[in-house]
């Protein structure tokens, strides 16, 4: 009974394990910390945040913690601190008030402090939902410029950020890792794609457009061979100083721009 109470499946659970599985998944994406859990319990019991029955809430809260432990979940320290606070408040309320002045002040303080934090947390949680519901640039709203905002930002700052060789190698590795396993065995390629072919293709693309993304170059034909050839072609182009490589942000997409000014007609 104790276990089933916090998660709304009172008697309809065939086995305890079913309930555990459900609350396991519910918990993980639902509670963002002890305050969130407390708010959830308050709402579920249809209570007023400003007038929490500490005994009820503490019991349900501890049930949750126990449940998390039974599931071998690592209970975050933050949850335990809150449990201790709740128990402290509860135990103070149970003790006879021998010295009314001192005891009363302290007890009201702890409870009032908790309520204040809860009310405040609730405000920010709601504020988060309010701003999250706004029409966001790049999601609901778009601007005229077709260039990546990150790219514009990078160009507007102190010139392009040069990328280190390691970033390039990382991008290459990430791409290789994404190649479907089946393609690893496509040994007998009909005709091979040479580095020179790749270089020509990249240069042709760069004449039409000002910028290229690494991903774009290999999107159409996503094979190990293609990726490796493209990578080598790019290294060669860099060595010949025909392209410049930069990254809009840390771990962002890697971009290529022609190194020569448009007037040179290269």
């Amino acid at each position: 009974m104790l276990h089933s109470q916090p998660h709304q499946h009172k008697d309809e659970i065939p086995t305890l394990l079913d309930g555990f599985h459900e609350s396991y998944t519910v918990h993980l994406d639902k509670f963002d910390g002890p305050l969130d859990l407390l708010l959830h319990l308050i709402r579920k019991n249809e209570l007023d945040v400003c007038d929490i029955p500490i005994a009820v809430i503490t019991r349900q809260y501890l049930d949750y913690i126990k449940l998390m432990k039974d599931l071998n979940l690592e209970v975050a320290g933050d949850f335990l601190v809150m449990a201790a606070t709740l128990l402290q408040i509860k135990s103070r309320m149970l003790l006879p008030l021998e010295e009314p002045e001192e005891g009363e002040v302290e007890e009201t303080d702890l409870r009032a402090e908790l309520i204040r934090r809860l009310v405040e947390y609730q405000q920010y949680k709601e504020a988060g939902m309010v701003i999250g519901a706004r029409a966001l640039l790049g999601r609901e709203i778009f601007v005229r410029s077709s260039i990546e905002p990150a790219l514009v930002a990078a160009q507007n700052q102190d010139g392009p950020l040069e990328v280190s060789l390691f970033d390039l190698v990382d991008a290459f590795r990430a791409l290789l890792a994404r190649i479907p396993a089946a393609h690893f065995h496509d040994v007998a390629a009909a005709e091979s794609f040479s580095i020179a072919d790749s270089i020509n293709e990249i240069l042709a693309l760069l004449q039409e457009r000002d910028t290229l993304q690494f991903d774009e170059l290999v999107r159409d034909e996503f094979t190990r061979e293609r990726v490796i050839v493209t990578f080598l072609a790019l290294l060669e182009l860099c060595r010949l100083k025909l392209v410049r490589i930069f990254q809009g942000s840390e771990h962002g997409s890697i971009w290529f721009v022609p190194a020569v000014a448009a007037g040179d007609g290269a």
């Binding site: 504020a127 988060g128 029409a135 709203i141 601007v143």
Partner: protein
């Protein structure tokens, strides 16, 4: 659109890669009066909102920009790939706390959320929505965080003041301690003397 100035400003905003601030526009149009530029801008805003077209003129992060109306999202995404990041509840909460309470330290964010915020804060920093403002002059010199210009741009805010107001938050900010200090002693001081003294008199 009535004036030629409005048309000039429209052409400037249209060709600009990023948002143009009122200051920048006035600098570029030095032959015009600053007040006239401002008036022309509001005229333009009105013109575009009455026009009922696919985009409107908006002031975002202190600059003017043409932005599409949210209603056309589903059509636009048919040809533009969006890389819009999804925001989890915890990142929105953290972002809200930083937006409303900045400048503040990670410990302060964590106190308000009651939970560790290291990972969330790191991803907000990577998305450039949050930036480091400096170091607080207390032991340990913790970093102070605030929201960035990108935050205003992405969330379509003119400035931080145009964040939705939350009266309750402000009330909490102002005087939680005064409330506590005043109410408790007063309640006891008043009751005790009254109960104790009456029978004697």
């Amino acid at each position: 659109m009535s004036s030629e100035l409005s048309a000039i400003i429209e052409s400037l905003v249209f060709t600009s890669e990023s948002a143009l601030s009122t200051d920048r526009i006035s600098d570029l149009l030095h032959e015009f009066d600053r007040d006239a530029v401002k008036a022309a801008l509001s005229e333009l805003v009105e013109y575009h909102s009455n026009r009922g077209g696919g985009f409107e003129l908006v002031e975002v992060a202190g600059g003017w920009q043409f932005r599409t109306r949210p209603a056309f999202q589903s059509y636009i995404t048919r040809h533009i790939r969006t890389k819009a990041s999804k925001f989890s509840q915890s990142s929105l909460e953290t972002l809200a706390i930083i937006a409303y309470r900045q400048p503040l330290t990670r410990t302060e964010v964590e106190h308000l959320r009651g939970v560790d915020c290291g990972t969330v804060l790191k991803s907000l920093l990577e998305k450039k929505l949050v930036r480091i403002l400096g170091k607080k002059d207390i032991p340990g010199r913790p970093l102070i965080y605030g929201t960035s210009k990108e935050f205003l741009e992405i969330f379509g805010l003119k400035d931080l003041k145009s964040l939705p107001t939350l009266k309750e938050i402000q009330a909490l900010d102002e005087a939680p301690q005064y409330e506590r200090q005043e109410e408790l002693p007063l309640g006891m001081d008043i009751r005790r003397p009254v109960e104790g003294e009456l029978p004697f008199e």
